[in-house]
């Protein structure tokens, strides 16, 4: 599995909040895509409720995952393609390494794919002496910079044109320019050479269709079409849940995917790949491999509380409306998936205790569910994760976190059931708060262990006399 740094959530979030460039980029991204996607849903002939239909379609697909995957596999094999089933990230990576070794691959061109980030494909190929080039412009920029994607659809959203200009001068040896078309042209030129020289192309899978026996990839740049057309070998990586039964269902999912991802009615390129080049064809890969990945998904499938998460198509619409993502940015989430989708999926894939900050950090405001192209109840699952964390869960190997917190709440529950005691404590606190540092009338800092509460906000002091006291006096 790729690097997981979910433990650094708080630290990274602080860094994100303190970065004015990132904040500006995120707010402009959310402004455009958040609104644009809502507008695009409204303009659907069926209206935004098409998302409810899509949810049903995806649920039915997940409930019949075995049948759909078997149907897809039979068709792809019949067309001369290979299908491999990988239980773990390592199995998937090893299979790809074996295909690369057998075909004497030296250069791989990659289409953007979050699942290959999840399984850590790039470092494994590089360790085997294979050059790997990301070809999505955003991914290419962050690969050159040695960073990680910070948004599922717009991976380089955190980079300014000035930073990109400096990077291209250093790595591509171009004359300095900050003009986006000129910078794009420089990358186009450099990557065209890579596409033409590559031995293997890799891609993700946006959605597969069992009935027709195809996987599909969608892109605006054309890089995935290049990577799946020009090299001798194409290896596609697919999370096992990315499938629907038939083309009429697929049609609904694709329309919503394009709207959720970029407020578009249709991505520039959608390719339906059912196998390798056929005899008589002059282009297309000689070999086509589909790697279907479990890597923890069957555990999600087995839990009725979280099965719904497998309906997700990774369009990233939830990132574009999330008030938390919009402030802290994608790097805080510490894994391939950021924003609300990451806050649910990452703990389920990498460990609930380990990634607890991700779902504790979300606000439960519900914006993600309204934006979700598949109408997934993300807030419900965020809460379910918090419940697992609070009480522990043997199935998910969750240690109940914060026994002190549990104790404090038990104390609170006991305290508020006694009117006398409660009022006494209030009185003591009202007297004690006079010792606390203030800004104007507001309390600036609470003493330990409550100091976190005033770390980035001031607190209203308790009233001198409580409401009940005033009420009694009125009588």
């Amino acid at each position: 599995m790729s690097d997981i740094s979910t433990e650094k959530y708080v630290e990274e979030a602080k860094r994100g909040i303190a970065d004015p460039v990132l904040r500006k980029a995120l707010s402009s991204l959310q402004d455009r895509f958040g609104r644009g996607t809502a507008e695009a849903y409204r303009k659907l002939p069926e209206g935004p409720d098409l998302r409810l239909k899509a949810h049903e379609i995806r649920e039915r697909a997940i409930e019949n995952l075995d049948v759909l995957l078997e149907t897809l596999t039979a068709k792809i094999r019949q067309n001369g393609g290979h299908v491999f089933f990988a239980a773990t990230a390592k199995d998937a990576v090893d299979y790809c390494l074996e295909v690369a070794r057998r075909n004497r691959v030296r250069l791989v061109v990659k289409g953007k794919s979050m699942v290959t980030e999840e399984i850590g494909l790039n470092p494994a190929l590089e360790a085997a002496g294979v050059e790997v080039v990301e070809t999505d412009l955003g991914e290419y920029i962050i690969q050159l910079a040695g960073e990680k994607p910070s948004h599922i659809i717009a991976p380089a959203i955190h980079k300014t044109r000035n930073e990109i200009a400096d990077l291209f001068v250093k790595k591509l040896g171009i004359r300095r320019t900050t003009d986006p078309p000129e910078l794009t042209q420089a990358a186009r030129k450099a990557l065209r050479e890579k596409f033409l020289a590559a031995d293997m192309g890799t891609s993700g899978v946006n959605m597969a269709c069992a009935e027709s026996g195809h996987i599909t990839t969608v892109s605006n740049e054309g890089n995935i079409r290049m990577a799946t057309t020009l090299p001798r070998v194409h290896v596609a990586f697919m999370g096992m849940e990315r499938i629907v039964a038939s083309l009429d269902e697929y049609e609904i999912i694709l329309r919503l995917l394009c709207r959720g991802a970029a407020a578009q009615t249709m991505g520039t390129y959608a390719s339906y790949i059912g196998g390798p080049r056929r005899p008589g064809d002059s282009d297309g890969p000689d070999e086509f491999h589909l790697v279907v990945i479990d890597n923890g998904r069957s555990r999600i499938l087995a839990d009725p509380q979280f099965r719904e998460m497998l309906c997700c198509v990774r369009c990233a619409a939830c990132l574009n409306v999330c008030p938390v993502y919009g402030k802290i940015g994608g790097h805080s989430y510490g894994f391939a998936y950021s924003g609300p989708v990451g806050a649910v999926v990452t703990p389920l894939l990498t460990g609930i205790n380990r990634a607890k900050d991700l779902f504790c950090g979300e606000t439960l405001c519900g914006a993600c569910m309204d934006a979700c192209s598949m109408n997934i109840d993300l807030p419900r699952m965020l809460l379910a994760l918090r419940e697992k964390l609070a009480y522990g869960d043997a199935n998910w190997q969750v240690e109940p976190a914060g026994r002190a917190e549990g104790l404090a709440y038990r104390g609170w529950s006991w305290l508020i059931r006694s009117r006398r005691l409660y009022e006494l404590v209030l009185k003591l606190a009202a007297a004690g708060q006079k010792l606390l540092p203030r800004t104007g009338a507001m309390i600036r800092r609470l003493p330990p262990p409550m100091q976190g509460w005033t770390q980035s906000r001031d607190l209203h002091p308790l009233a001198e006399t409580t409401f009940m006291e005033r009420w009694r006096k009125r009588k």
């Binding site: 078997e70 697929y250 297309g284």
Partner: protein
């Protein structure tokens, strides 16, 4: 490569167990896949069949409108001769992106063959490379050599001329199924892609397309082929400070010529 059947068996066992089914027994498809067209499908097929020239003209207007925001240039021409001049016009006007010399790649396709591009381009002294189907019986090495030659030709071309199977008006999307002699790289690697279609190839949307591909006997056999492409306008990116730029990796320009005949 081995089929790694043990991995596969275990994989499906895990899924069936997670879903609460017997782990060892493959389940039947049941009602998951339709055996025939629905009433809605039949209605749609009928509507496509009975579409009048006036209806088709209206669809063309819709296509032109949908093409505007995505920078797809649509021109409507009365006949093949006019289509041929339109292609020649682009070849004369546009400049190559990667080299000095102009050359054009075109599909071997009944509609493209009838354009007479060979002569039209000869007048401009621009060579035309027509992508012939590969003869698989010619032997492996011969086959590889011919494919390499075609690939080099396509890479050297600044304009690629293709036909298309359909065009969906609502999203201005060209639909191309893969066939020998019609390599997909012609619509991808050259800087400019010119597609030529006839008016009757325009459909409303994906619903109509999939109804035809699934249930119309004329298209059902070939289905989606092993590689079907949707192309909606030129390649684009907004990855640098969200500024829209055309020509990220695929063609910078896409021109669609609709022949009214």
């Amino acid at each position: 490569m081995s089929l790694d059947t043990t991995d596969q068996i275990r994989f499906f066992r895990r899924i069936r167990t997670a879903l609460g089914h017997a782990a060892e027994v493959p389940r039947a498809a049941g009602q998951l896949f339709a055996e025939g067209p629905s009433a809605e499908d039949l209605q749609m097929l009928d509507r496509i069949d009975k579409r009048s020239t006036t209806d088709r003209q209206a669809l063309l207007e819709r296509l032109i409108e949908a093409g505007k925001p995505i920078n797809l240039k649509v021109v409507s021409v009365p006949d093949l001769a006019a289509a041929s001049s339109a292609v020649a016009g682009l070849v004369a006007e546009k400049q190559p992106e990667w080299g000095e010399a102009k050359s054009v790649a075109a599909w071997r396709h009944p509609l493209i063959d009838r354009l007479g591009l060979e002569e039209a381009l000869a007048r401009l002294q621009v060579p035309l490379r027509v992508t012939q189907p590969i003869n698989p019986s010619a032997g492996r090495e011969c086959d590889q050599a011919e494919r390499d030659r075609q690939r080099a030709g396509i890479i050297a071309s600044f304009i690629g001329v293709t036909a298309a199977d359909f065009c969906m008006a609502d999203t201005a999307t060209l639909v191309m199924r893969n066939r020998p002699g019609q390599p997909r790289s012609v619509a991808l690697v050259p800087s400019i892609h010119v597609a030529v279609i006839t008016l009757d190839q325009i459909l409303v949307d994906m619903k109509e397309l999939f109804a035809l591909l699934r249930w119309d006997e004329r298209f059902r056999q070939e289905g989606l082929s092993n590689y079907m492409s949707f192309i909606s306008g030129p390649s684009k990116t907004a990855d640098i400070e969200a500024t829209m730029v055309h020509g990220a990796h695929g063609p910078r320009e896409v021109h669609l010529i609709v022949v009214a005949e």
